[in-house]
Symmetry: D2
Subunit: 305 residues, 4 copies
């Protein structure tokens, strides 16, 4: 199965001031991401507030993104939900419209406690789009599914034919490496924590990733991989340290989903508010965040429209 | 606002062998519950696998239950979901079809970390059906929302006009009592753990509850309240101890949602399988559970069709 | 084995301003507790900052308490520690000086993850004082030992001859009752959460308890049991509600160990500061706490010297 | 302040079959560690079952290690305990006998919840040996102290004069790097997870570490750093992957404290059993572990006596 090379962005979902989904900015958004070095998008995931969207909205977004991306730019549709019938419908739809792949995180309810439950969950979704690569999105901090991923890989191997790999958004580079080494790299282990891309590269060789901060800091994040590939460790470190500085700022503003989405407005691509129960940033918070970003010269290093 | 007196049942969602929702058993189910002393139902909640149903299925179930219940038998519709637009739609629909009330648990994703987020979440839903009483369903073990409920009551008081109270499914009888005492009992604190109904009565006086095991053990559970009201402590204790014995059994079979639903088949009202990712009981497990139930003379004490 | 009837107090450890242990107030402390209806003390436990004392200090305190108590007033010595050799030494010493019993909570390090580990731990300690009743002190919030207590009872039964029972400081009245019912009450299940004494009585009949707030609020706590025994439910409820009001106050001041110890000063028995890493109350905090206590008429209901 | 270069070993505590501390093997142990490339020892810590030792045993071990090590080989004494008076005594003793430094993890009881509490705890210990460098040992999985380490560094800076740095045994290489960058590397950030040494080197430049598996796998672990320093990434990766393979094995046998200690016997330096509540390995388990280690050719790569 094809492995992803380079970085995939996890876009925010554009919304109008009243909270409605806003499809209009998608083409410009897609063009901006491609221009800044991203290789695709993983839509309707956590950054995209996928769980806060109706099924119909998720369908419309998937269609718009597939229509909007340049040739060769991958669209992976996150189709996970608590309701497998919705997920299967979204998976079949993703196939139908020509998306490149699909993915799903573990459902937050009921909390998954056993590998067998997670396999069954993924199997049901993957079977609804058997020709598309399926990625499991491992982000236990969001759904409480702290299962051992190596055991999970062993369990899906030979059982889910279109299982492609894992978007690994967890701190254990030990487990990550063990998964990467499984059957000499049988599965595609996509790195999923922008703040530790360099250490992961050191351990694991060429690879792809799915990123949340590349929406606004993609040039820097892409350049980490390039510097590493070019053997320029000093530059890779400088860039990774800078990536962390940006992440330090968004941590002051409720993280990427809230703080990061608001940065988009500051770089010229207003994507509107977050949905309840996220607490939207106030104007004062926006101003303070802007000052923090200016202090690290962010607006000269961020993505270019 | 009217307070609930007596016990409300949280029904399972009947399903066909293929996993489709099965509306057909609902009238018989409703009649059975009324016959065994229950005062209403809280549908599409955790026992009802509400999060695993599509919005359309939840709508159909709500309609069927409202049509099927006897005069004066309350239908409260759980309308919580991760997507507030779906929840608001379900709330408005509940009002439209003449449901008695609505309720919602905290969303499992994103995990609610602040009282203000929870208030906003509940406010948005409650506002979609402003004439119906709204109950918050507190079950932190399922969604990680371990916020202090007294602070929550203070925050909703005066802000959500149709806020009725809390279905309290948590172990702290201290917090439960503090909530009950708030403004001399301003809010309706519905007890939500069948295994500790008697201790709760001792502390709190007459009150209602919402129960999961009353689907099959309602006669016993109702009788606890009656014995207590009649001043017969010895009998109340015997009944509560028995209620715990039944709960001991379902704890061996993945709890009420899985084990309890299968008991329905054993008492003559087959409600079909659970949805993935719940692991359905095997036939061997069913047989073993039946033997455990026989050993405590369950089939002579359980609900009568 | 004898079962404890009535309430045992968990005393604070008196300290001098410089943090040294202060044995001098112990006789007056013991007399005060007896005068206010307590039946014994459980010393060097969590309220007594036992883990923050040297082994030598724990020995001196045990000796002083045994010397100081009136006839028939029980002294149970908490001997738990991370180092079993220290614990065994303390247990043997307790026997030697004529203490009534011993107890131990699970060690906080290493965190106990299996029933077998906990049994072995308790067995080793209990064997060092085979003639004294041994109580396991279950307080998982303090040490992370969330093991099922019924399984634990089954495992110690027949293996630890002097195992007397459990001081149960956890919220599950369901598990508490199941333990109480084990072999028709074979083991002594001491209630350990002052805020839910009444609900526990309703469920379980006559019983003992070990209490932290009885240091200053013992008259009220003892009266709950008396009112219940006399069949005066209304009064029992009023008293339990009042007990909760006092607990509400100490919750504002870092709980019983910090806030409660400072109350002792306010009622006339200054026991000095807490040890690091506990944060001692400031004078401003003391003043604010005093005002809160006055507002609930505490100083007319509290213990009398 | 001097920064540690190279790897410090965290030794096990040798015990006799009856569980008594056994000082006899210490000189051979120290010589073996030096011979295999280690630069010092961090004694009486988690690998050394420090919390399960009496104060007197800890004192004897410290004396024996200081006497036994070769010239220039550092002895850092872990002096942490729940009782600060014991810790201060151990710190003063470490100074007195000529240890190189001291360290302490957060106490597991009471659980530290605030930076100020942790600072006060460390300050009290560090002040008892003001001429020795003090290291905080951050291992939150063992004591529940999940505080942000950058905030902690800011709080100790200027307040604890002999604060040297942190032994960082946690998964977040993001936080680790942020601490490392604080004031251009003011504090010594010792890496503390053997399985991710290479990724950490990639991110952070030359540095030291404190290791648990170097007791038996020190040659490999030391060689990772050498390969990296020599610019041989392929070899560094091969070695780190191998290090993880060894760790995979010990994870099957209750981790380093239990499984790792038993490996010492297999390489010819029997250090005896673990203390309760650790569950010692059975002979069958030892045999199975040996087979697993042979399968990865461990006995040709492990430490040499």
């Amino acid at each position: 199965m094809e492995k992803i090379i380079g970085l995939i962005d996890a876009p925010f979902t554009p919304m109008k001031a009243n909270g409605d989904v806003n499809l209009e900015p998608v083409p410009a958004y897609a063009a901006m991401l491609a221009k800044n070095g991203l290789k695709g998008v993983f839509i309707n995931g956590s950054s995209g507030e996928g769980y806060m969207l109706t099924t119909e909205e998720r369908i419309q977004l998937a269609e718009k993104w597939v229509e909007s991306v340049p040739e060769g730019f991958k669209v992976i549709v996150h189709v996970g939900s608590c309701c497998l019938r919705e997920s299967a419908k979204l998976a079949a739809h993703a196939k139908e419209i020509g998306a490149w792949g699909i993915g799903a995180m573990a459902p937050p309810f009921p909390k998954i406690g056993r590998v067998e439950e997670l396999v069954k969950y993924c199997e049901t979704i993957a079977a609804a789009a058997p020709d598309l690569p399926f990625y499991f999105y491992h982000i236990p901090a969001f759904n409480g599914c702290f299962l051992p991923m190596l055991d999970f890989l062993k369990a899906v191997d030979g059982r889910i034919p279109n299982f492609a790999g894992i978007k690994y958004t967890f701190e254990s580079l030990y487990e990550y490496n063990q998964c990467r080494l499984y059957k000499n790299g049988k599965f595609d282990m996509l790195h999923g924590q922008d703040e530790t891309y360099l250490p992961s590269l050191a351990q694991g060789g060429a690879q792809g990733g799915i990123c949340g901060t590349t929406n606004y800091n993609g040039r820097v994040q892409v350049a980490i991989g390039e510097a590493w590939a070019a053997g320029d460790l000093a530059r890779a470190r400088e860039l990774q340290d800078y990536s962390q500085e940006v992440i330090n700022v968004i941590c002051h503003y409720r993280g990427n989903i809230v703080g990061g989405k608001r940065i988009m407005k500051l770089i010229g691509l207003d994507l509107g508010p977050n949905r309840v129960p996220w607490r939207n940033m106030t104007d004062e918070e926006e101003k303070a965040m802007k000052a923090e970003l200016e202090a690290i010269d962010f607006f000269n290093r961020c993505n270019i429209l």
